[in-house]
Symmetry: C2
Subunit: 410 residues, 2 copies
């Protein structure tokens, strides 16, 4: 037993409470096995431990990014001795390097790949939903958001449930926000940087004299995702209502995953076709020319729903095998019939100060036509990547862990 | 034969020269077959023609986006009559709609899916490359770029070969550009909007007192892509040299696709492992927390190389099946041996006014350590999406087609 009494650093800036203590350790040259105070046993590989050490030869202490180049080690790192030190850390002597390195038990336990929870599980469980008459999106009072300080409790009290709703249901409706034009940028920045496009940093959704998108007219828009013409269509969309005094223009939102699941159930052949046929999405505009090919329903490596890419007005001429064309259109029309069914849609009228944030790779949005001369309807919008919302939510989780550590130490 | 003598519009803003004339047409209710003046025969489906018409009931004439909702048609559109009109356009009577629609022959020929060229073929053929001592990146004199007008001949003369190099080889080196800080933004905007990140709109690559990335120190950086911790790491990276008077700091570029191909050849098992194991990429920093899981080598649906995601200093602790861990590290070390071989690398020293633009999902970049007190080394960087470069290049192709049509009409 060594005499260290202070826990070693972790290789990152995160906070790792001690959920269980290390009680026993056994090792062979290439593996170590530890027993925790709650009886769990975890094995770690020597090479994994070596490259995830937190000392200054492995990690740049300022950036907490790795500086070790594994290929410069004299040989595959092996364990000469393993023990639990006076602080409760795992302490290992590596050969042939002749280096003693210590591992924080909270960090080790949180990265226990031997008893792994699914490391790729979503941060918040994903729940698909249906709408129907009278259904409304979850609403959150966000009136204090811009008066809060980034990272403070007031901000967290608003952002945490909003991010959970977006991660889980794909959608949150924040209410009572300012209606100053441009204020969306400061609001979005509470989550992360905005992803600009050829439509600008923020885009104005209102009837314009020379529209470069059907969104900028007063006509109805069918259920769609934005920018399906991109290699990766934006992960999140924000729509912020500044004015709304027109007749019509009701907003519609559908869970694209729920629609896809219903199609799989009711018309498995159409579903299979839409996961296979690569449609041509195109916006061959005056000054830009965006084209991308993708199926309307994309599955991940495990066969789970990954994203939908549906936007009738941004489909270009289908270019696929001749024999696939009629089945493709049959499947498309089966999908369109589902999209028109009221059971999937939630409908609401934007009030000034409303901000709807939704997953643009999962949800579909639509709007009814409105009477342009009956008043003003002005939304401002922007895009963010889903990375930003996950990063922001992980920071909230980290702050909660830090408070737990603080409470334990008091 | 109708008496129309002017060609109909096309459903987009593109330019479609008449490569061949329509000479004969035959139809059944759901298909039409045309013979062109060069003998080619092309078939089109009735429903495909109907939804790709260019009239005002199908396409919003201002946005050229579709307004037709197929599901509102009374039935599957069928062809009652098909003929070639006086302008050379295909003219079709649709039932039960009772609507006559005309199709531009240049547009029809360019979207001939019955004799399809691969619509997803890259805009410029992709050629993998190796480096080796003395190899340098292609250099282009871009001194006139910021004095040109967007879209004029002078801009096209600089951008066209640069975009071709980036699309084909993944890399272009533009030289003799301004060295004013911030000028990168105006340069990048000639291609498209910048993708900002938590490191800013532009980021400064130089040794900083409180670095939040190893890039912002003077240490060597191993071959890597930027931001592998994102769901979609940026498609393009720009690095613009403002100052470089240090000893060391030579830049290194490798074609990640060439390295992956060499690995597939020399160590197929390591290659297979790296296409399968999902590494954890993580940047658990002070104020952001980005995590993504992906294989280091990603293949598309056809088994072709899609992207590489390699960055040793942004790999977090691997969380995968226990039995996969040793094979994963063995494969990683095989890859790292290849990355160190001089045959893959091109090396060069940044001169002030150089701008290197490269595909950040294909190329790896690295740099030697430099002596921070021997002078100044200051690069500014930014990211764009690959969509932007493709859109910009398609606009150049469109301008070329428009000039061809203009020349034919003169």
């Amino acid at each position: 037993m060594t005499t260290d009494t202070a826990l070693p650093p972790t290789p990152d800036y995160d906070a790792w409470p001690i959920e269980a203590r290390l009680q026993a350790v056994e090792s062979s040259p290439r593996q170590v096995s530890v027993r925790w105070s709650d009886g769990r046993v975890s094995r770690y590989h020597s090479i994994w431990l070596r490259e995830n050490a937190a000392d200054d030869t492995t990690v740049n202490p300022a950036t907490r990014e790795r500086i070790l180049d594994l290929s410069t080690l004299p040989a595959w790192p092996e364990i000469a001795n393993a023990e639990i030190d006076g602080s409760g850390a795992l302490c290992i002597d590596f050969v042939p390097e002749e280096r003693r390195l210590r591992f924080h038990p909270g960090w080790l336990r949180a990265h226990d790949y031997d008893n792994a929870a699914d490391d790729e599980a979503p941060l918040v469980p994903v729940t698909t939903w249906r709408g129907g008459p009278g259904e409304r999106p979850d609403s959150l009072d966000a009136s204090g958001l811009l008066d809060s300080e980034p990272g403070d409790d007031a901000e967290e009290a608003i952002l945490a449930p909003a991010l959970e709703a977006i991660l889980g249901k794909g959608l949150a409706r924040l209410r009572n926000l300012p209606t100053e034009p441009g204020s969306l940028e400061a609001i979005a920045r509470r989550i992360g940087p905005v992803r600009p496009t050829n439509f600008g940093q923020l885009f104005d959704v209102r009837a314009k004299p020379e529209p470069d998108s059907n969104a900028y007219t007063s006509i109805a828009l069918p259920p769609h995702v934005d920018l399906p013409t991109r290699e990766y269509h934006p992960g999140l969309q924000c729509l912020h209502c500044l004015e709304n005094s027109v007749a019509g223009g009701e907003a519609v939102m559908l869970d694209g995953f729920a629609v896809a699941e219903a199609l799989r159930e009711r018309d498995p052949q159409a579903y299979a076709t839409l996961t296979r046929v690569r449609w041509r999405f195109a916006n061959t505009a005056r000054t830009t020319d965006h084209v991308w090919h993708a199926p309307m329903i994309r599955l991940d490596a495990r066969g789970e729903l990954l994203e939908v890419r549906i936007a009738d007005f941004l489909r270009g001429p289908l270019q696929t095998d001749f024999a696939e064309v009629e089945p493709a259109y049959e499947a498309l029309m089966a999908l369109q019939r589902l999209l028109r069914e009221p059971e999937f849609a939630i409908r609401f009228t934007y009030q000034p100060g409303d901000l709807v944030i939704f997953d643009n790779r999962r949800l579909l949005h639509a709007r009814d036509a409105f009477e342009g001369d009956s008043g003003h309807r002005w939304l401002q919008g922007c895009y963010l990547e889903r990375d930003e919302i996950r990063s922001r939510y992980r920071m909230i989780q980290r702050a909660r862990r830090q408070r737990r550590i603080g409470a334990e130490e008091r």
